[in-house]
């Protein structure tokens, strides 16, 4: 692998950018691997990377039906944080944030993780009490947290609506200073390059159409590019997890929904943190290119229609303009949707699928970009050792039978 550095950048600049080589190969699928990962989003690529790097398992193929990161990984609004309520979630997501903190160096690829902080505003005295409860939970979980007064919020984000007639006046906020944003494509590409360098075959335009089983055990997959065998198969297909489960003959506690996001035309820097206003369910940040990136809650209807629609656009754009009235005249540039995998407790599923040899990493729903390093690390650990990592154990599929749900949808509300 050719090493990326500021020096290389400078040298290539002088040489007309002619010295760059492709960041990964385009291999044809081999008939057999030790491990197959289905789905070339962030979680699949990170799993392959950690299998090779941490566990020395290099005969690995990542099969992606489209192009790398073309699913939710390339469609999300890149908020990264670990301000969860329950200790199990805080431990998992903070492990992820810590991996993100070292990721650019680890991958030798700039994932542009910017710890610009993330605040969740409170719009009434009751909200403020809930925010304080969240703050206390975070502190108990060992996560950095701060309570901000209304004046502090105003000093940090003067753009917010502090007018006397604001529909939802701001009373304060709870913030996580270590939260922030990253560059979604770079996370996929960085892991892809790191995995490829260690021998992993990344195979694009290769859709898995069937799971082969012998005596109840998964032994390989049927794809649009032929049959491929492996006795360990990992599924990281997000919104299509139920479709894959159906191929293997089981059902999952998942509904697929479209989640939409929006970006405005690029404007000068006006917002240097991430803000979520729960009263509207809308959150916003500004990209390095200057676009105002924002989104809201899930669609109301289970769907595999990977596109935006009007009801949500009206709600979210209306909310943004009330949150930050100065943005009313800014033009919308793009609006899109991704299909996310929502579980009853809004927590992910990591663990064996019930079919021997087939493992799951899914159910991240609206918030799995921040978890890509941890999700990949956990699935790699599970597939390499056959055992859960301590941090992934609580997220096993068995919680739906034992009733030990980790109900973050109720505890920390919507947020991505």
């Amino acid at each position: 692998m050719s090493h990326y550095s500021a020096f290389r950048l400078f040298r290539e600049g002088l040489r007309g950018q002619k010295g760059w080589t492709p960041a990964w190969r385009m291999p044809a699928p081999k008939p057999e691997y030790d491990v197959i990962i289905i789905g070339g989003g962030g979680h699949g690529l990170a799993t392959a990377y950690y299998l090779a790097k941490q566990h020395g398992i290099k005969r690995v193929a990542v099969l992606e039906k489209g192009w790398l990161g073309g699913g939710n990984t390339g469609r999300n609004t890149t908020a990264i944080r670990s301000n969860y309520f329950y200790p199990e979630s805080a431990a998992l997501y903070d492990f992820s944030v810590r991996l993100y903190e070292g990721l650019s160096r680890d991958l030798n690829y700039n994932v542009m993780f910017s710890q610009r902080g993330m605040m969740v505003t409170a719009h009434s005295e009751h909200d403020l009490e809930m925010a304080t409860r969240q703050y206390n939970a975070m502190r108990i979980n060992g996560i950095d947290a701060e309570m901000l007064t209304a004046a502090e919020v105003r000093a940090r984000v003067p753009l917010l609506n502090f007018r006397a007639d604001a529909r939802h006046p701001i009373h304060g906020a709870v913030s996580q200073p270590r939260g922030g944003t990253g560059r979604h494509d770079a996370v996929a590409w960085g892991y892809a390059r790191g995995a490829d360098t260690r021998g992993v075959d990344i195979i694009q335009n290769c859709e898995v159409l069937g799971i082969q089983k012998e005596a109840g055990r998964a032994t390989g997959v049927t794809t649009t590019r032929g049959d491929i065998r492996a006795d360990r198969i990992g599924a990281t297909v997000a919104g299509h997890s139920s479709v894959l489960a159906e191929l293997a003959g089981f059902k999952l506690p998942i509904h697929s929904y479209a989640l939409q996001a929006f970006v405005s035309e690029p404007i000068k820097p006006i917002l240097d943190t991430v803000v979520l206003c729960p009263a509207f369910g809308t959150y916003v940040s500004q990209s390095d290119k200057g676009g105002i990136v924002f989104g809201g809650g899930l669609d109301r209807i289970p769907s595999y229609g990977q596109r935006g629609n009007m009801p949500v656009q009206e709600d979210v754009v209306g909310a943004l303009v009330e949150m930050m009235p100065a943005l009313a005249k800014v033009k919308l540039l793009r609006h899109w949707g991704g299909i996310v995998d929502v579980t009853p407790d809004s927590s992910p599923i990591i663990g064996p699928s019930g079919v021997e040899g087939l493992y799951l990493n899914c159910g991240w729903g609206t918030g799995g970009f921040k978890a890509i390093p941890a999700g990949g690390y956990m699935l790699a650990h599970l597939m390499a050792t056959g055992q859960h990592h301590d941090l992934s154990r609580p997220f096993d599929l068995d919680r739906f039978t034992t009733g030990r749900l980790i109900d973050e949808s109720a505890a920390s509300g919507i947020a991505h």
Binding site: H240, S242, E246, L252, I301, P302, S303, Y304, F400, T401
Partner: protein, 87 residues
Amino acid sequence: MQIFPCPFCGPRDEREFHFAGEAGKTRPDTTGEVSPDDWATYLHMHRNEKGRTREVWVHTPCAEMFIMERNSVTMEVLGTECLRAKS
């Protein structure tokens, strides 16, 4: 906005409708012992189909539950049926 057909009120704005669940699930008989597996399957496991689906919906203004068949990719509505016993 998309227009959905309520079998009682006719064509109405999609925002008046609410998805309730997949059609055809049978609640385990809770007068007897129900195994955790059966209960979890009933409560949480879904077909979550891509393509043709058969689901229970409610039209909030008239509060009637009904069956809707639709395509979960194109959002095309293929038909609705009332859930009341035919008299």
